[in-house]
């Protein structure tokens, strides 16, 4: 495997709960890539909190992965996260956009953040994803594996 630039590590944060059906999408996605230790640091969250703003400042590139209620074409959406200052929020659950805004505001750091949102359908207490979510998961993995390949090429020493 080629050597990568020292600052090329990516933090990938899976958000969700694998005890709630398709809410496992975020964690399962992180599981899929957790063995790629040369490139990824991984974290699992039930929900994002304010201290995650500090965590993401330690990286140049961060990817949040979460299940989504939205129905995306191909079952997923991978998009660049824009910082958003929000005041109407729930104390224990922040959106990636707010976490990025806090990182910028409190710590003067602006890592490049992407969100991988994968469409889910079922959210009740249950182990295992629905068939539809599994298909969306596979599509997202397929896309992201190619994305990693291209990223690796771009950060080779």
């Amino acid at each position: 495997m080629s050597e990568l630039k020292t600052d090329s590590r990516i933090l990938i944060i899976g958000i969700g709960n694998n005890g709630r059906s398709d809410d496992a999408l975020g964690w399962n996605f992180v599981d899929e890539y957790s063995s790629l230790k040369d490139i990824f640091d991984v974290e699992y969250r039930y929900q994002l909190q304010i201290e995650d703003a500090l965590l993401i400042t330690e990286y140049k590139k961060v990817i949040f992965v979460d299940a989504s209620h939205k129905e995306y074409e191909n079952g997923y959406s991978f998009y660049k996260c824009i910082p958003v200052r929000t005041e109407a929020f729930t104390t224990h659950k922040l959106e990636p956009e707010t976490v990025l805004w806090l990182a910028n505001d409190l710590f003067n750091q602006s890592p490049e953040v992407h969100v991988m949102a994968i469409s889910g359908m079922e959210w009740e207490l249950n182990l295992g994803m629905s068939d539809a979510a599994k298909r969306n998961f596979d599509n997202a993995v397929s896309y992201f594996s190619q994305w990693i390949k291209e990223y690796r090429d771009s950060v080779k020493v």
């Binding site: 200052r85 806090l102 409190l106």
Partner: protein, 484 residues
């Protein structure tokens, strides 16, 4: 027309609660209830599991105080393998204590900076969009930054000992499964990658100065808001000083008279009963001797400062003395003094962590002790929110046959109901229009106890809070629902 106000969900508390306020046709409050409407039932489904699984399973009760459940269960499981608290190896005892104080430090930081500070900084009547931690970050960046880093310090202590910030594994029957890495100790002491323990002490002192100033400016409000007589329960060491990991149980009444005289934690059943009400899943513990009506106790920071003779670390003790001198009262029965008490405990935890991080014994490999197996184990600790009891019985094969959990928030159940009633009677009753600020005061009263409703009922899922206003016909007149 009679009305009922419901606050559901109560926000910035750990869990899902519902408040109903019943009003008569003249707008006078007739009654109020703080309902806990979620239910999970760990006590039941842990039955049939082998005892050694308990410390790992029960910490899933909560994502905020899993360490407290892990350690309370571990203390009980120690007894099942014949190891009483005094029989633990010094290294295991100190590692557990370090983890426990790190947990209280991070939990108290979470509560003060994230949950309580918006009310203090912006006022109880501030617009709802300001009453959150993002607004704190916008208007007081330094406070927000320090809050984040203090919480991180406590979480990092937990990670260093248990492998994870949340739901890690540290305790095993009779001890601990790994020692402290010297590199980890350097990490907490050298200040290179994380503000060091001395900085935590300094910041704790700073934030205490902030709360002292707040009390000076708002004395009348803080002395009167949700003030009512109650018992106070907590743990003390052999000389009556504050102890959070292992000690004896002491309770006093609202005047300071001892109602539970430093009894062994193993004897708790002799002294406590639990009442039930049809409108809440949460039980109401009380002292048998005193009875259901007057035998209930507040637990947590306010209670712990009330019952202890002193705090066994110098800076926190100095602050305790200042706190007592400020009120001039032997026993403080004012709900909002919980915040000041909590910050003194933050300082105490930082001082204890400092002592332990400088103690080479935390890096010893003498970690596990064994004894003669028993069929019953009781573990009681002072969790961030108060006295926490785990009690297990097992069969000859080591399978759990009975589990009883008395969670801190359960002890505070009666106090939270009284606090809601105080606000209903003094703020809402006969005031005509019900404002958002008034309803927030109900939440402020509950929030001071830092209730962990998920722990108290072992609930799962989203945890909002709801306030309902109900008229004399039982009709819902108004309600506020907020996500937690």
């Amino acid at each position: 027309m009679k009305k009922k106000i419901t606050i559901d969900p109560v926000t910035r508390v750990e869990g899902h609660g519902r408040v109903t306020i019943h009003m008569d046709e003249y707008g006078k409050v007739e009654d109020s209830f703080f309902h806990i409407v979620e239910f999970r039932g760990f006590e039941r489904f842990i039955q049939g599991h082998p005892y050694w699984e308990a410390p790992v399973l029960v910490q899933r009760l909560c994502g905020i105080c899993p360490v407290s459940h892990h350690l309370a269960a571990a203390k009980a499981i120690d007894q099942l393998v014949g190891v009483d608290p005094q029989d633990l190896s010094p290294a295991a005892f100190k590692l557990r204590k370090l983890m426990h104080y790190g947990q209280i430090f991070q939990s108290h930081a979470l509560h003060f900076f994230y949950l309580a500070s918006p009310d203090l900084l912006f006022g109880m009547d501030a617009p709802v969009e300001k009453r959150n931690v993002i607004a704190v970050a916008i208007e007081n960046k330094e406070l927000a930054r320090k809050g984040i880093l203090m919480r991180k310090f406590g979480q990092e202590i937990i990670r260093a000992i248990s492998g994870k910030k949340i739901h890690g594994v540290a305790a095993v029957p009779g001890g601990m499964h790994q020692t402290f890495d010297p590199k980890e100790r350097d990490y907490f002491l050298n200040g290179k990658d994380l503000p060091n323990i001395q900085t935590m002490i300094d910041w704790s002192l700073e934030i205490i100065e902030f709360i002292k100033g707040y009390h000076e400016k708002n004395r009348i409000l803080l002395d009167t808001f949700a003030t009512f007589p109650s018992g106070h329960l907590g743990m003390v060491d052999d000389v009556g000083n504050m102890e959070l990991y292992h000690g004896k149980l002491r309770a006093i009444d609202s005047t300071g008279k001892i109602t539970l005289p430093d009894v062994a934690t193993d004897d708790y059943q002799k002294y406590f009963l639990e009442g039930v009400e049809r409108w809440s899943y949460m039980k109401f513990p009380y002292l048998k001797e005193v009875g259901r009506e007057h035998g209930w106790n507040r637990v947590g920071p306010l209670a712990r400062l009330n019952i202890c003779n002193a705090i066994p670390t110098p800076l926190a003790e100095k602050e305790r003395q200042a706190y007592v001198a400020f009120t001039g009262k032997k026993v403080n029965n004012s709900t909002l003094y919980s915040h000041w008490a909590r910050l003194i405990e933050i300082l105490h935890c930082a001082e204890v962590m400092n002592e332990l991080l400088h103690d080479d014994e935390i890096m010893s490999n003498d970690l596990v002790r064994e004894g003669k197996h028993r069929l019953e184990g009781i573990g009681i600790i002072e969790a961030p929110r108060g006295t926490l009891t785990h009690h297990y019985q097992v069969d000859e094969k080591g399978m759990i046959t009975r589990c009883n959990l008395i969670v801190s928030t359960t002890h505070n159940n009666e106090a939270m109901n009284r606090a809601v009633r105080w606000v209903a009677n003094n703020v809402i009753s006969q005031k005509g229009a019900i404002t958002d600020g008034m309803l927030n005061q109900v939440e402020v009263a509950i929030r001071a106890y830092d209730p962990c409703l998920s722990c108290a009922t072992q609930a799962l899922g989203q945890m909002p809070l709801r306030v309902e206003l109900i008229n004399h016909k039982g009709e819902l007149i108004d309600e506020r629902i907020k996500n937690g």
